[in-house]
Symmetry: C2
């Protein structure tokens, strides 16, 4: 049986603009993408987050249909959900934030439901580091694996808090620019050494269309991104990656480096689906067969028989 | 026995400036890097190029010591060698050309020595497309494999000539920006489709520190670059890659897609050595044991056992 997984992060509305079009008030947020992604691997996912009274009941139903436990999702009837608006540049790797409205997030106090305080796998999705810490503190037992995702924004305004959380997690997932910001090193190899010295045993550096690197001590693994005809909307790709990664880890309940290599491929596969349509649309339609085919595409992409002596 | 390989391209002096320092009048050029790289795999490399009377006899000796046949290397005593000066930006992925002096290249007429007109493998290194065509025309028999390397500069001033050569080669190697320029497509997958329709059966898109993609019809292979602590000087990395690629192909004399996957890893390994020091210094000191170890590093970097059902 697969292990229990708790995911914290935002559940939000996004206004998205890409070279392919615009979409307004799309349900998004780190916990949404990560939770839905993880739910492809294990039926024991719980999310801890907060939304306002404006959040659609139909999407709560979507969570339920995916076996996602929303007991820890607070609903503040008189407030509005967290809102983000962003516009992607033509290269799809960079974006401008057009608007951020914290709303319910401004005074959010995450509460992990009693029944989920013994979750064996924990994803601290992108959120204020202080809130990530509060969730860690509420766990009754230290989870087998704690994965932390974060972003440059928190490095700029809450670096000290972020570093405190970092001491207590097993895996950190950030992108290449964030790795440089956190470490002060341009070389990703040097950056990884410094970041691993800050606490985590594993560091995953996400490079978008250029794949992802997994570092542990002197070991390193590289997983490519699947070359796609079009990246329609990159929003949530990183969260889908993190959710797929820890979802696979929880489902297989094996925290070895070898299994993490596999988990990164599964995370990359989930991210490759997410970017095919706006918001969570594609993520919600992924079938088991499609996932299997996509994993096979990754295997073909990476296959080489070096016939070493 | 390994097959014969002919390499054409520039042999030049470079002034190099990187964030790590400066070096003046360093021997470089596409044929230099590619030839020296290929010579690690096969003792049957010939180069076709041109230098002035200012070219150091000691470096001609270096070619000889590596079993590189310089019969096709014209020496114009009263002229000066091709000269290029460039400065790399901090990201090491972009550079400014500070100076270019064609000198002997201005009226270069490549002549393939009689003894090398039946070479089985041919690398048309980065050079004016018209000169690449002249060399192709001089071959007595169509080589088993023709690899063409080129750059954005020729796409800007000699696109028609370039497209004519493209019709007659098997493999094209260019970087991601050049693939976009040549195809008019941002997506590399779409770019690859268009470029493969222009003639070559195989397309290698080099992405520097982000690895390389090999496309053929509906197949694609991805090879990562080795994560390095420092990239000291990227000059010649692409040429070393191309030389290592075709050198391995010639040495193994197997032009299957499977073998090209391996050849790309060997090419990437050679490029990873080149960037460790200024100019050809590191490339010249690579031992068989070091190459073997580096290949093992690539295997470790890429290894994942997906245990598919």
């Amino acid at each position: 049986m697969s292990s229990s997984l708790l995911v914290i992060g935002t559940v939000a509305f996004d206004n998205l603009e890409t070279p392919f079009g615009k979409a307004d008030m799309v349900v998004g947020g780190a916990a949404t993408y990560a939770g839905l992604s993880a739910a492809n691997f294990t039926p024991h996912v719980g999310i801890v987050s907060v939304v306002g009274g404006d959040f659609p009941a139909s999407f709560l139903q979507t969570f339920k249909e995916r076996n996602i436990n929303t007991e820890g999702l607070q609903i503040k009837q008189d407030e509005k959900s967290f809102f983000w608006a962003g516009k992607y540049h033509n290269d799809m790797n960079t974006r401008d934030t057009l608007d951020t409205q914290l709303n319910v997030l401004a005074d959010f106090n995450p509460v992990v439901p009693e029944s989920q305080r013994s979750a064996e796998y924990l994803l601290l999705g992108n959120l204020m580091p202080k809130l990530q810490m509060q969730v860690l503190d509420q766990m009754a037992v230290r989870p087998k694996l704690v994965v932390m995702d974060t972003m440059n924004f928190w490095m700029e305004i809450a670096m000290d808090d972020l570093k405190e959380v970092l001491k207590r997690v097993d895996v950190l997932t950030i992108n290449d620019e964030e790795a440089r910001l956190l470490s002060g090193e341009y070389s990703l190899v040097k950056a990884a050494k410094k970041i691993l010295a800050m606490g985590p045993d594993y560091l995953i550096i996400k490079k978008g269309e250029n794949g992802a690197l997994l570092f542990r001590e002197n070991k390193v693994f590289f997983a490519p991104a699947l070359p796609l005809e079009d990246v329609f909307d990159p929003t949530g790709a990183g969260d889908s990656f993190a959710g797929g990664f820890i979802g696979y880890m929880a489902a297989t309940d094996d925290i070895s480096f070898e299994n993490m290599r596999r988990a990164i491929i599964y995370g990359s596969a989930m991210a490759s689906f997410t970017v095919e349509k706006f918001g969570t649309e594609r993520l919600l339609s992924v079938t088991e067969e499609e996932l299997e085919q996509r994993i096979q595409s990754f295997v073909n992409l990476m296959h080489v028989d070096m016939e070493l002596a």
